[in-house]
Symmetry: C2
Subunit: 208 residues, 2 copies
Amino acid sequence: MDPEPRREQLLNAADRVIQREGPGASMNAIAAEAGITKPILYRHFGDRNGLVRALTERHTGGLLAAVRAALAEPLERRDRVEHVLDTYLAGIEARPQVYRLLTHPEPGDPSGAGHALAPALRQIAEEITRAVADQLDLGADRELLAEAWGRAITGMVLAAGDWWLDSRPCSRTRMVQALADLLWGRLAAAADLPTAVLPAGPAPEPAD
Amino acid sequence: MDPEPRREQLLNAADRVIQREGPGASMNAIAAEAGITKPILYRHFGDRNGLVRALTERHTGGLLAAVRAALAEPLERRDRVEHVLDTYLAGIEARPQVYRLLTHPEPGDPSGAGHALAPALRQIAEEITRAVADQLDLGADRELLAEAWGRAITGMVLAAGDWWLDSRPCSRTRMVQALADLLWGRLAAAADLPTAVLPAGPAPEPAD
DNA sequence: ACCGGGGTGTTACCACCGGTAACATCGTCG
DNA sequence: CGACGATGTTACCGGTGGTAACACCCCGGT
């Protein structure tokens, strides 16, 4: 039961340096921040992935629990969805740097599949899948739809949240509304703009 | 006019080795595949990012153009959305390896912002934003909604497409339907399952 | 005919990365 | 006391992205 505090301490140091230097901070830098040298880090966490995993688990634990709780909230459906969205956005808002770790997991991944969703996000996706599959009547395709939607919604909120966090175009509440509206079919329900018929002129994009 | 062919040739080599070894293939490996050594690569593309950028641009050009065309198709809205989704999925289905490059852009990025959407995806997001903003009557929040939705939809399709590509749970057509249904508010419209959520309820039902 | 320049190519090197081996130093417990 | 297990160190390995310096070879100009 002793090694726990030291480990926490090292994680705190890693946290600090990642906060400062972004992800991709070197093990050397982390060790230096902790006032020690590399091999100790490697003794505690087997390799870099171990460190990152421990770090993300620590930080995503709360977020995941919060999202799970939000999903279980006995609200009307729309309110519940908004609550979940708000919970997620509030979570990433609180710790932007570390959240990056979440999205940008392991660069040198030699394993076959390079999934777009980091493990932590994947857990959230599974929560959503479960909630959808358990609570909604979606007919024969229930399982498939739930799983696809779980991934889809997670990815949607990830990308939208990233953008929002980066450019802060509006308040969190407004952003929640925008996403909930999208999920609520407002894209389908909106009226056409009269200016419709496409001009024949090709609008080439400006090269960067 | 001269330097083009050699450059293309190098890109082909890079393509081959990335196809074989996945992204993260070393410059040495790429150079070896091309039958040459590193410095030549660095002469043609300034650094690794340059190479990757050139590579992705080459491969995403077609996809981006296809998506753009699909967005401009004069179909009914739902059909157009399905067409766009299908176009994207077909695109990533055709070249899974290179598509990975697309999602997993630059590992060792020291720059402040680590955006979740790679540049190519961002372009698609902008296309969607433009299409939504130009064609839909969304009231005062038009700009904000369009931009948020552009990102959100792109992220959604990215994550869902990645999952679909990886586990192939259904046909492409079915996947398109699932995503279009989500966008069409089926999540909101679906009926509750009777086994629902009565957490604090006095209901005499413990089983699950 | 000679020379010069640009593209092509090389070897050798740099700093740094993740990761490891080997050794030193404590406190503690039998 | 001695053994042991953490804690810590220095020094090293192979590999990476990236660069410098040098060699070649062809082609065009005066």
